[in-house]
């Protein structure tokens, strides 16, 4: 899946999942429930809606708080993870998910001002 990381990965929230099926995305949300197998967990976005995230290998660490997931959206609207980051809440300024969501809406409402597409061959 290395090519996924080369292409552009627009930041999205739950309401945009259906428009990005089969594409690479970047999803930031709050960890809700982790499945006992550790291979899947749910996240909620700044609007309160939930999405499911799947991992290739089970989690090796405790996952909580805000996480940034880079992966692909499956036909069922599930994000298959390529990589993820935890945005630690115990350091610095706490992440404001609602504000992030507002910024996200701006980026999608004015794509002409936010040209994030990277040339595939680049």
């Amino acid at each position: 899946m290395a090519s996924l990381l080369d292409a552009s990965k627009p930041r999205i929230n739950c309401s945009m999942l259906s428009q990005h099926i089969g594409r690479g995305v970047c999803f930031v949300g709050r960890v809700e429930k982790v499945h006992p197998t550790g291979k899947t967990f749910s996240v909620s976005d700044g609007e309160g809606k939930s999405a499911t995230v799947e991992l290739n290998e089970p989690l090796e660490e405790e996952l909580s708080g805000i996480v940034e997931v880079i992966g692909m959206v499956s036909s069922k609207g599930v994000i298959t993870t390529t990589t993820y980051n935890i945005l630690r809440e115990d350091k610095g300024i706490p992440f404001d998910l609602e504000l992030y969501n507002e910024a996200l809406k701006v980026i999608h409402d004015f794509p002409q001002h936010y040209p994030f597409e990277v040339a595939a061959s680049g």
Binding site: L99, A103, V106, D109
Partner: protein
Amino acid sequence: MTKLSEGTIEALSNGTGVNDAVLQLVNIRKLDGGNGPSRFRVMMSDGRHTLSSFMLSTQLNHMAEENILAPNCICNLKRHVTNILKDGRRVVIILEIDVIKPAKDVAGRIGDPTPYTEGQSKGPQSAPVPENRPPLQPQNRNEAVNRGLNRDFGKKAPSVMPNTPGGSSKVVPIASLNPYQSKWTIRARVTNKSSIRTWSNSRGDGKLFSMEIVDESGEIRVTGFNQEVDKFYSLIEAGKVYYISKGSLKLANKQYTSVKNDYEMTLNGESTIIPCEDSCDVPMVQCDFVSIGDLENRDKDAIVDVIGVCKSVDDISRLTTKSNREVSKRTLSLMDMSGKVVTVTLWGEEAEKFDGSSQPVVAIKGAKLSDFGGRSLSASFSSTLMINPDIPEAYKLRGWYDKEGHAMDGQSLTEVKGGSGGGNTNWKSLSDVKTEHLGHGDKADYYTCVATIVFLRKENCLYQACPSQDCNKKVVDQQNGMFRCEKCDKEFPNFKHRLILSANIADYGDNQWVTCFQESAEAILGQNAAYLGQLKDSNEAAFDEVFQHANFNTFVFRNRVKLETYNDESRIKATVMDVKPVDHKEYSKRLILNIRKLAANH
């Protein structure tokens, strides 16, 4: 011999006083008003009777002080008003009086007047007024009474003298309270009770609480200290009516309250507070609402009463105060029929409990007006917050809002453009500063921007300054180990290092050369001037590194720009007044808001 208008005294005492009466001044006595102006008490005679309850209105004090009004002179009482106390006593206030024959031209007392006694027998009054008949400050109170009547929201027709409770004590109106009478009882509703506050200073410890009470005639602030806190605090409930007697009155400190009374009351060892059962005709609250549109005309720090519809409310935020206490804060926008909107800040429990859903009518008594963001309001610990109060103003607002107000955008008196601290935050980009020609006018212009440091001039950033506490003037090196300060006109064996840092800051659109003085330079460099001064001489590499490290950092700058002319050449000079780290949340919010605004105006 000049004829006095006989019968005047009797007429005045019966309330049928006439103007232009000729009377003889028998005696005049000065009474010290404590903090206020002196008052003069006068005894007048109409040849038949004397009456000692005349008071000179303060604007005529000079006539007494210059001895124009002196015993035995004959006067024409041109204008007066009469005030009646609850106990039937009458006071005649002299508003205008002419001396038609000066005292020196009058031999003695005309006729053989006797003191006029009214219904209740008081016994003869002696010429020097006895201490237990102190005078009043009637003029102010008259107005307070009228104001109280106009603002009364009570259900019954307001009367100056409330019904006596059927007990033995007679009740007087709050508007008549003054420092010179101690034996009174009032019946009032508590509109606002503060929490107990304690203090501890070099003189000892203490505690106090305060409350505001209202009756048909007006309102007054009451404070209880130490023992009175123990005695009364738990007994008193806001909203309930009590009989209160024998508090001490003194001139009010208007700075802290919007309560309309020249006096305020302190409870003492003799004060009593008794609950009153029959309270329906005591009004709930006394408010003198200011229209939101009018707030622009009021001075900052004024204490006002406002009422409006809560158009919107923000989420609670929590701040830590300088004393490391956590406090909750919430802002709401209030709109009234003027079409103007103002931001109101609530604190603590009020902020937490506030429910702005369904756009309630909100009234605040004693809110503090500030010039933050233009004009904004804050509910302090002494303000009273009322949601959907049961008063006519509230119903009017509700009706108006439901019909038209809800559709209006309203014009806000409070700039929403980010609030980092007090004052008007005037956000500009560096290109705006140039295109808008800021600084080109007569006065300097101030603006705030987010910018990145792209260059720091480390040469000549330090100078040798006078070591005196408040003097920062550059000293002249006398080359003999001494340094001379021209301003202090002294020589010193040392100096202190001070910074003047020239920097270039830039944003996406433009750049700007600015000068940073001590505080802002130290903030940018992350080191103090004294240390840097030493470092420059001792370790140049380390000194350079400080500047490397400081370069390319982004800050919020508050700058001052002004056009300065040197020898026919005019140049814009920009000085950094303040430097702060970027509050990314605030910045993001502001950017999003501006983007949406731009899009909406398309």
